[in-house]
Symmetry: C2
Subunit: 265 residues, 2 copies
């Protein structure tokens, strides 16, 4: 998503040229390219697919919407398996229209995972609940902290359900380091993502993430926390930023790789 | 601030007409009107000044900036005392330019309160640390949760330093009810403010608070929490919203009073 301006073949080429060993993919461009074709493209390039983003949106009350969400998440698991990644990131969903019941919405996520966890396991895929910054609590993700994510994940085996640790969403939270240790002790850190916090936030606040090094987040500090918790997996950089997307994609990818080495290497 | 389009005499008239018994004031319009004159205006109308907003911005590293902030906060205490309110709300301040050290910034707030707390006490004023929503953590307030605010406040006597409970900033936090109980048990709930959470957030995210009843927050639930914690003080409605400010101020005040009765009465 950091370089969504690149078509998949360009992305794969650019990763190979830069020595980037793996890439997290999003469903929409993969579906547009064809899931099997994308899997072959990435596999032939020797590139690992670190995660697939994203499943989730599991908070609907309406039975039909809920069934549709579950079906879509099973498709996302299938796509992850086809792509050869073992991790599907979940953005859990916001409050249904008119609802003020955060607790109920969080319970419906747990109910859905009771169905999706075993399905994912059968396909060799782990689900990674991503707490999103509290500014997304009403309209995108009612899971706002690692503690909340782990409270849900702990109801399931770790190889079915864990969490995503993303610096952008948790950097402000002084309890997050303890929660990272908790997640690590249970084997539930399923992926680790970097983005920096910059202001002012844009209207709608979705596409204002900063290139690493540009903002308030100490990347090395968070990397130390996840490493101390036993995480040895890939580190992804996930920027949603209109200004970044308007630039040349290969240049952004090269800059991102350089910033990674500088701030998190 | 909810009706900042009203000059102070209009505000006082409108409150009297509507039977609103108290008003939280902001420093800028009070200073513009004259502090003594504002105090007389409100006192003559029989209107209570519930709080003065705001002191704070105590995170500077630079010695000169820090001394200026302390001096300004002492002036804010003086103004509160002149206005006859016992509560000064503190917005603690963001990260200094280039800093990524949230912990250090929070410690500098505590250091400043060690100087300001006794000064406030001498003037009959309590300081109320306001945790602001985590989306303000870098540029406005490094204190993002009630737990963080209480961790600082607890170092001082409750009649010197307590907290502000504002639904807009904490509604997403499932640990906030326990923290409200903690604050109440210590006599540290110094004020309680209402605003609703609506999306999409505007650019800069400051002026997007919703009229109560328009958003995701269950006002009665939060009112129950603070009342169960022993709070018997005023309840303020504090909206920052460009659309609200563009409307007729008396109409907004009447609407706000009606919404208060409907959603929090």
């Amino acid at each position: 998503m950091t370089v969504k301006q690149l078509a998949l073949p360009e992305l794969v080429d650019a990763c190979r040229e830069l020595g980037v060993p793996g890439v997290g993919l999003w469903r929409e461009p993969v579906q547009a390219y064809g899931v099997e074709a994308a899997a072959k493209l990435v596999r032939d390039a020797g590139l690992a697919v670190t995660t697939l983003c994203r499943g989730g949106f599991l908070t609907a009350i309406d039975a039909g919407e809920r069934a549709a969400a579950l079906a879509d998440n099973r498709r996302a698991v299938d796509e992850a398996a086809t792509l050869g990644t073992d991790t599907l990131v979940l953005v859990s969903g916001g409050l249904p229209a008119g609802s003020k019941d955060l607790r109920g919405a969080r319970e419906r996520i747990a109910d859905a995972l009771a169905e999706l966890g075993p399905y994912a396991e059968e396909h060799g895929v782990k689900l990674a609940i991503e707490p999103l910054h509290p500014m997304f609590a009403s309209d995108r993700c009612v899971v706002s902290t690692l503690a909340q994510a782990l409270d849900i994940a702990e109801r399931f085996p770790a190889h079915q359900v864990g969490v995503t640790v993303d610096t952008y969403h948790i950097w402000w939270d002084d309890t997050a380091p303890v929660q990272i240790a908790r997640a690590g002790a249970q084997g539930r850190i399923h992926t680790f993502q970097l983005a920096d916090w910059i202001t002012p936030l844009p209207e709608g606040v979705l596409n204002g993430r900063g290139q690493i090094g540009d903002g308030a987040v100490d990347m090395r500090e968070w990397k130390r926390y996840v490493e101390a918790a036993g995480y040895t997996g890939a580190i992804e950089v996930e920027l949603f930023n209109d200004a970044v997307w308007a630039r040349d994609g290969r240049e952004v990818l090269a800059e991102t790789a350089a910033r990674f080495v500088e701030h998190a290497g």
